[in-house]
Assembly symmetry: C2
Homo-oligomer: 439 residues x 2
């Protein structure tokens, strides 16, 4: 027996030799691009560099005449009429419109017509992903959305395929480059939130209406998709608790630094039995942690698995070229495997809660007088919340004095109740800022 | 025209409706595990937790009786006879033997018999990967090796699939956890290389014969695989220049810190036209860079693409569970798509060179006397190499004095020539240590 383990027996003689399948020549993939903005142009650029693999059949955009460029092949049809694509011989529709209307109807129409769809549309996938994926399956085609989370960072494929063998229980990361840019700017240069936002708008890093980014709605759509793909949990984006980054001031970075921390917009989701804890909010993270070190507009995702521990992905989360890489990688994935995917275990519904148990940072801004800390301490103690430390930096005016209390671990709802009662105290000159402190 | 762009037309009526393909019920994948050490046991653990997807048919190991465990299903066949697997109904062989013999013959036999193979064997794939992949293609089965580089970090799938749409030109990273552990230990506690190595051996982090790790042979096998997958470049592992980490001393970390740097074993490969620059060697990296911040035995890979810029992957590169995650993810990938892969453009051969142009760190150890720096400076100048700065820390004995010269950018071969000439000077009491300084 032992000898056969290390023998050089000629296995080719004993082996059954099934006939290899015949490999058909691979045809070019016919791709229609819908939405011809920055990302659409980057996609077209990359595809035209690989004419043996891809043929662009259509470019569809509102007022398409002003979009025409000379560097795409002449046989591309420029159109405003999506119906022409639905009835065409395009194999795959690349949807880069963003938003829900008309993207939802159009993607549905493409799938119904048996065309695979690649989309970068996070709102569409967060809200209608399961329904559209189901339609794709029934129509024998593919729906791919690798570009919808973290742009060029291959996090969805990494989680879905590279970590398929693990059981993931936690996702956390920095999913919105605009917020990270603004917070980095306040941290580094001590500017106000408003100034940092205006600058980001000038640089084209923030929209004229920055609500989606600042209030966390952009990140929560991505977190919803990550929860589905990585944690096999189906939730609605509206169920995720969001808090805006706008109340964060330069002074908070100074106090955070006293605690060995900085502040980032953190998106996190964690499976706890039949519940999913999830939130998007500014949070204190250690200065020397992967999130703390993430400056500028890059994205970062940390996945925690039962077997593999923590795996970190980071890179350029937005921008035309990185997002286009994700789109073209999805096209390649469709080309590589068959038209349909083996059904995976369907994500399950879990109740969503933001009831994380963590340490907290409270920044109060008061008109100073004796007894304030004593009165806050006794209110907190009344809710069973323990104070860890009190920080008061010098150099602030007495009538608008920011100071910080760090708390030991408590449930966020307990703290919220305490803060609602404390709110009524007459010494406050600004709303209190409460941030979780992540280890 | 504009109206149809935003219309709510009922596309389902206009659409052609091809018949969806019939989805056959998915059978369980029959898996034979060959090599039942730490990784093999972890793989068996994960597979037995998913009995609806996987059935372990065989566990094959030398002296298999001492390997038997009670927690695998009773119908698993324990065997020392690989031929029994080749002629069995197993769909996939998981090869966890390591080394070239008998792994190469056995993997070949499995593929010839039409069985897909998943392997964690970096030496096998570095040396015989293309030949085995070709055989798999011809036999209509799959060869997957996600676990061969960076264990549980899904870097191969990320590069191959997630970044398929990009054109990657550069890979660099920390591919050997043992070396990174040893260097971190010297850095943090100032111990000698020998002591750090002995400790790593006691902890089970280094082999009794640590040559493969210390001299870079382990990392160069991984770099060879990364070059093939990410840079589409076929090289032989022996072509990659390697330098051992053993000459690095605690004093080098002190001098490196004066330069804002630390020292890591860095593996890197870069496409330059028809050449591939490649090396595995200790190098100075900035303290605040992703590589500089990587402590302990984790792995890190940074890929640089034409469109997506830098993408970073990191996580646990070794250990039973993380490696098993990669193996099971490969099994899932085989289950998910058809049995064969669409042929990708074959990797091309490129000449390999270690001729990186970088700044360098030179640590000389001398018996001090006047004129040493002048004489070294004039030797270097004679080869057109410019000195950037000279560092001399206090507190060392005059007869064994380490000091450092940092150089401006030059080609490594120019520097090697200069150092060979300088070598003969009579004031040296130890060989000179030359390390590249990476930005």
């Amino acid at each position: 027996m032992a000898s056969s383990f290390s023998s050089n027996a000629d296995f080719s003689r004993t082996a059954k030799l099934p006939r290899p399948p015949v490999m058909a020549p691979v045809p070019r993939m016919r791709v229609a691009i819908v939405g011809f903005g920055t990302v659409g142009r980057s996609v077209a650029h990359i595809l035209t560099e690989q004419p043996s693999c891809f043929q662009i059949t259509h470019i569809c955009n509102r007022a398409v005449e002003r979009k025409r460029v000379s560097w795409v092949p002449r046989d591309v049809q420029w159109t405003e009429d999506f119906a022409a694509i639905v009835t065409s011989d395009a194999d795959v529709v690349v949807e880069l419109l963003g938003g829900l209307a008309p993207a939802f109807e159009w993607v549905r129409a493409a799938l119904l017509a048996g065309k695979s769809v690649v989309t970068a549309n996070k709102q569409l996938i967060a809200r209608h992903g399961p329904e559209l994926a189901d339609l794709a399956r029934r129509r024998g085609c593919r729906l791919e959305f690798g570009a919808s989370v973290a742009g060029g960072v291959p996090v969805l494929s990494g989680l879905q395929e590279g970590l398929a063998g693990d059981r993931l229980s936690r996702i956390c990361g920095i999913l919105n480059g605009t917020c990270n840019h603004i917070l980095s700017r306040i941290e580094t240069d001590g500017v106000s939130f408003e100034k940092a936002l205006r600058e980001a708008q000038k640089l084209g890093l923030a929209e004229a209406d920055p609500t989606e980014d600042i209030e966390g709605l952009d990140a929560r759509a991505k977190l919803t998709i990550l929860a589905r793909v990585a944690l096999r949990t189906q939730i609605d984006p509206e169920e995720v608790h969001c808090a805006a980054i706008s109340p964060v001031e330069a002074v908070d970075f100074a106090y955070a630094a006293d605690l060995g921390c900085t502040i980032r917009q953190v998106s996190r989701a964690e499976v706890h039995g039949d519940r999913l804890l999830a939130s998007v909010q500014p949070a204190l993270v250690p200065l020397d942690s992967p999130m703390g070190r993430m400056h500028g507009s890059r994205n970062l995702v940390i996945a925690t698995g039962q077997y593999g521990g923590e795996t970190v992905f980071s890179g350029h989360g937005a921008g035309g070229d990185p997002t286009a890489v994700a789109v073209v990688s999805d096209l390649a994935a469709i080309g590589r495997s068959g038209p349909w995917q083996v059904s995976e275990s369907a994500p399950i519904r879990r109740a969503v809660s933001a009831e994380f148990v963590t340490r907290h940072y409270l920044r109060f801004t008061v008109k100073d007088r004796p007894g304030i800390i004593a009165s806050l301490a006794s209110e907190l103690a009344g809710h069973g919340i323990n104070i860890d430390a009190v920080f008061q930096r010098r150099g602030f005016p007495k009538d608008c004095l920011p100071f910080v209390i760090s708390l030991e671990e408590c449930a966020s709802s307990t703290l919220d109740r305490a803060l609602r009662e404390i709110e009524s105290c007459d010494f406050f000159v600004k709303p209190t800022l409460s941030l979780p402190m992540l280890a």
